[in-house]
Symmetry: C2
Subunit: 143 residues, 2 copies
């Protein structure tokens, strides 16, 4: 248990949301400027192998890291605005059981974020006047 490792764990613990490798690097740098990027990458890899840290792929393949302790939940990301919403882990229980029995495949639903369109972006589409193309330009992009 070394300095860099403590810093990485601390950075992950401080965030409720998950962080990309680069965000961890940045966050760690704020706490301890001496820690090198490569050490963060290696630490994330090591801690993942130990099961202390897990990662989820959101959006277009972006890898985000979080502590394994966080209670299990699924993620879904809006392909338009990039917002990530949390979903109950139980959501895919039935599907998981079905896939297991039908295909012998055991799902690990928390490893990948589902994709789709959030309520807000759907509303924008519905409201949007095709002539202007953009109905409510104030919808912030979270990507």
């Amino acid at each position: 248990m070394t300095g860099p490792r403590r810093a990485v764990l601390s950075a992950l613990a401080a965030q409720h949301e998950h962080l990309t490798a680069d965000q961890v690097v940045t966050s760690v740098a704020e706490r301890d400027p001496g820690v090198h990027r490569a050490s963060v990458y290696r630490t994330l890899e090591t801690l993942s192998a130990l099961g202390v840290v897990q990662h989820v792929h959101v959006g277009h393949g972006t890898t985000t890291y979080h502590l394994a302790g966080d209670e299990a939940h699924l993620h879904a990301q809006c392909g338009r605005c990039g917002a990530v919403i949390d979903l109950p882990a139980s959501l895919l229980d039935d599907v998981a059981a079905l896939v297991r029995s039908q295909h012998g495949f055991q799902l690990d639903p928390s490893h990948v974020a589902l994709s789709g369109t959030c309520a807000r972006c759907l509303a924008l589409s519905d409201t949007a006047t095709p002539t202007t193309g953009r109905a409510r330009p104030d919808h912030e992009d979270h990507r």
Copy 2:
């Protein structure tokens, strides 16, 4: 409709499985060595915008491309051996309806591959003798 675009479409049409950008580059190079990497990337981007080509994120974020015409189906990748299995598109219909009504989020299940462990790797785990660690070393890795 230019040469490079025809070559990219041809490469995608020739494969039943989906291809990564780099695989498309390679495949296109075999047909038409004059086509530049950058053109392939730009073509994939353009054709995606047109809706002719779609992409799926499998495994650890890898982006794979396929023709939009392919009948809809889901993918699931084994995190151990990398094998990708196809699942019926209807599998997530119920979940999609639930998420839509409960969270206002509209799922697009075909955009991301589910993750988990395939039947074969599960069998290996069950059979594996903890002392040796590797029960059947003949199981090929598809990653």
